[in-house]
Symmetry: D2
Subunit: 123 residues, 4 copies
């Protein structure tokens, strides 16, 4: 995340937003954000959203995720929102959404689903 | 891809391999490759694999992909293999696999499926 | 759908609901609806939802779908809601949700995403 | 499965095949097998494949699955093969493939991935 310059901007119980500002080296030849950027911040947003519901000494593992890329990754920044839709003792399911934002204009860049596992320390 | 230091090493018809060498700034707090690295090179490997079968003046768009993260991203490098399993005039389906490699040891880090679209120039 | 006894109950532009009443031969050994029932009505609800936005002489094809089964398929009936979240000339993306309903009680049985293609007649 | 007339034909450690013979009430208006049939037998084949590796007193739960429908469901019968690609103490990942078979001709109807959970009895 640091490598790309992404920052976490909102942390609520079960919901986390991560922002990725536009940068030349994150774009494809056509000037849009690379899909890899969308999926990295979407995966992280979901992971942190799940973690807000986990035990403090546990860690979080992405089991799988699926992303539909619906519009080109355009705008001044990408905003990824991860939101827990099914918390669980072992497995948690998150909805992932990525928006391309320029001023007040928001384009729905991607939507997805993610399954995460709570890893508890042994002892 | 350049940002992470990834390089394409094998290009066959319908199959492309991309390698991501270990680098400290691509890892998580636990020393493993971040899942974002796996998914970025997997998505790219599938995209280029599909592109080997497309018209030269067309471009490729990832419609969606799904990745199961099966083992931690460990090793000297990650190898992502994208392989076309259903070529199509409009839509192409690829299998994605990511391996963590250290010497002769290969761990199956992730497997996935990806749907891609061939975008033809208008005119 | 006829085989299982499912019926379409709501048809709005971009949103369709299908209901599957409880029946002994749709359940597993544990008395819950079989996952196959959930996925069949979810896939159909999304397909019809997309179709409400298509040209009348076109047909609809499911390209792929993904479903997270979050709770056991319980209740007097299953309700599957398919809702278009990204209409498109070629490809359309739907959100799929399945609820297990008993009186006023609704349990979120499954959520998913689906990619569909509009097939136009040649001519 | 009984409702549709499907039967399990091969059971190996980590691999199960289920066959669904053609029947008029399993088809769509165009004469092809309905996608619901493919996904039901694919989900079941993966579930039983995982179960061959589980403790005898445990049960199996589909956490999620994703299916790409690559060709129309055609032929005298559908064959679904579920194959474990990552066994695990808690979670198991299966590859799912559905073939449409007529004599010696086999068409790749669908491919998918499935995550399953081993449910152990409490006590």
């Amino acid at each position: 995340m640091r490598l790309m310059g992404a920052t976490m901007t909102t942390i609520r119980t079960g919901e986390v937003t991560i922002i990725l500002p536009f940068r030349d080296d994150l774009t494809q030849h056509n000037g849009y954000f690379h899909a890899g950027g969308s999926s990295a911040i979407a995966d992280s947003a979901g992971g942190y959203a799940a973690y807000t519901l986990f035990d403090p000494d546990s860690s979080v593992l992405t089991v799988e995720f699926k992303l539909n890329l619906m519009n080109p990754g355009q705008g001044d920044r990408l905003e990824a929102v991860g939101r827990v839709i099914k918390p669980g003792r072992n497995l948690t399911v998150c909805q992932l959404d990525v928006w391309g934002v320029t001023g007040n204009r928001r384009v729905h860049v991607a939507t997805g689903l993610q399954t995460l596992m709570q890893m508890r320390p042994r002892g």
